[in-house]
């Protein structure tokens, strides 16, 4: 039995991800780590309208019947939990960030908030970019050093102590990318306002 407080958090964050165009109707997923277990969105459930039965609890270290119901990205979520201190994961499809991931190996924000919070977001490539062991390995390796990363052409994976926090990194990334896009559209000389910003790509 999953605590109603936990469901409520999933419901709110899922709803906001959908409302902010961060996922399509059935895309993206959320999970939290409860000790040696994972609570993750059910495969095919709509993040924007989660019901209590859309949350699946399964083991962290090995399969049980929960895997038959869990999100296709369960493998990735497990690998991240086993390789990092994360207690929550937000995976979504931020559109502008995905667009930038198609031409860059890292995204270095120019706006104040994302510079302050994220510094840079590495972009990793995986041909079989949905729920494969190769993808799980690459994503979890990258998340050892960064709290949010982009999978090229696919979407972002963000970690946190809470879903709130992981969502925060995700929405900050998308906001930063929208600003970068607007900066490109305006196409005027950039006036640097940040100290030591030339070190961001070394973060």
């Amino acid at each position: 039995m999953i605590d109603p407080r936990i469901y409520e958090t999933f419901r709110e964050i899922g709803r906001d991800l959908y409302a902010q165009n961060m996922v399509s109707s059935h895309g993206g997923n959320l999970s939290i780590r409860l000790g040696d277990r994972v609570v993750i969105k059910r495969r095919g459930a709509m993040l924007g309208a989660l019901k209590p039965h859309d949350l699946v609890e399964t083991r962290l270290d090995k399969n049980d019947s929960g895997v038959a119901l869990a999100s296709t990205e369960l493998l990735v979520h497990r690998a991240v939990y086993l390789n990092t201190p994360a207690l929550a994961i937000c995976h979504c499809h931020p559109r502008t960030a995905i667009a930038f991931s198609l031409s860059r190996d890292e995204i270095v924000p120019v706006d104040n908030e994302a510079s302050y919070l994220l510094k840079k977001i590495p972009v990793i490539t995986e041909e079989f970019a949905s729920g494969t062991p190769q993808m799980a390995h690459k994503v979890s390796e990258a998340l050892k050093n960064y709290k949010i990363i982009m999978l090229r052409g696919h979407g972002s994976f963000a970690t946190g102590q809470t879903l709130d926090e992981a969502f925060f990194w995700s929405s900050t990334l998308e906001e930063a990318c929208q600003i970068m896009l607007n900066v490109k559209l305006i196409n005027e000389p950039f006036i640097e306002y940040r100290g030591m910003s030339d070190s961001y790509n070394k973060f």
Binding site: D3, G35, D36, P85, K144, K147, D164, M196, K202
Partner: protein, 595 residues
Amino acid sequence: MMSGWAQNILDIDLTSRTVKTYPLDMEMARQFVGGRGLGARLLWDLVDPQVDPLSAENVLIFTNGPLTATGYQTSNRFSVTTKSPLTGTILDANSGGFWGTQFRRTGHIALIVRGRAESPVWIEILQDQVAIHDAAHLWGMRVLELTRALGQDKHRRNVLTIGPAGESLSRIAAIMNDGERALARGGPGAVMGAKNLKAIVVEGKERPEIVDRERFKFMLYEARKLLAASPLTSQALPEFGTAVMLNIVNNIGALPTRNNQQTQFEHIEAICGETLAENHLVRNTACWACPIACTRISRTDKIEGEGPEFESTWAFGAQCGVSDLDAIIEANYVCNDLGLDTISAGVTIACAMELSEKGYLDSDLRFGRADLLAPTLEQMAYRHGLGAELSDGSLRFATQYGHPELSMSVKGLEMPAYDARGMQGQGLLFATSNRGGCHMRGNMLGLEVLGLPKLIDRFQVQGKSSYVILHQNSSAAIDSLVLCKFTNMGVSEEYFARVLSAVTGIPYATGELIQVGERVWNLERLYNLRAGITHQQDTLPPRLLNEPVASGPSQGWVSHLEPMLKEYYRTRGWDERGVPKPQKLQSLGLAHLTD
């Protein structure tokens, strides 16, 4: 050769009056980093968990870390590790100020003090010289007088000492440094007193080496920005000190009051951080390399001195039912001068107040008796009258009067200012803390109250163990660097890992740094198990488990410890009796210690 760490361990045997220096084992440094972690690893080799903590066989291990004295924000702290005379557990306590920085500058990562001097001595450590001096003329001096007498000079020569409480082997005696900073909890002052060691004075010149200066400079800059942006570290703590928490914790109904009989104090306005700032603050001040400056200099008609901190204000205030802030400030000052842990002292007095009110103890102590605080503390430090019994903490005292359940302690260490019934995760944290009831072994205040990094439901039980474990591990890692926990209110572990990498040249990922903390936590657990402290001591006072809060925002709640504890053991990779499983020890590189 790895850099960043001071390279030498100084080893002094007071029985034989011999001094040795040998190099730090760099593999040990990589695994345990410094501070609390290194102290625990050294203690494991040096002190049989069965020894009497007040015997010559116990040791004191003072340690700094690879960040100490680098100039990184709050890189001033140092630790002492020993076997606690209060709890019988492994103990580490850390402190800020200036002594730790100066100690690092002597070129030593650790100072081990063994044995027992025949008569009182003090130790002087200069850059290349170590001397053991006679201290007969210093024995009996109070902390502030002694600190001046040995030539305290904030930035050049720093004094660490015990007061009368340590000399009288009070099991709640602190070790004091730089006058009014304290290695407070668990009675390290009594261990020092038992060694006939009055003081340690340090003067050094060595500058720490930093491998990647450019990266270090960047991390320094970013931390400055983060601390300036956090309202906690840039406004609340500098303006009101840690006492800013009094109103916050009281408002949610989690402030232990009158020995945890209530969870809200009706006179909170009289003792809160805002009142302290308005009526008593002379100025705020800072430890070395600290931009936060949470330390208060406060004044009453009688005294002027450092503090009081949140916990001290609460211990002598709400917990004793006292609303006279002058008396609280003076009690705090007296504790510093006598070398007593303010939390244990206040909670022990509160316990005596309840025993008296219930007729189990014949004394004048009653809740609200502000006039009795300072005199009782004097009696405790000198072991006079009732003070002789109070001097060894609340659990021994309450047991002596037939009511151990009235001691608000875990494993014998008095709990601080959070009632476990109003903060479920904090209760689990207290129950499982390796040094007993303590808020510095990880703290759920951030997640359950302040929203750091984000707010979670403080009454939620399911899943709480994951948060508690993460924070315990993280806390052990920060204690091993050694940094101040308040830095963590603005700067997260990913920055600490990067600055550690910059200083040492060894790449530490965030998770690897937190795993250092997990390694330390498990080693401490193993030590405690060998000392005979088992899962049966992973509990809370019966009041918190069985007596629902009568009124306020936590009304009706008790601590739901049992399900959280089961989940905790499983999540830690321990068996149902709280013993780390072999595969867990293997993964942490500790298996060889238990072969």
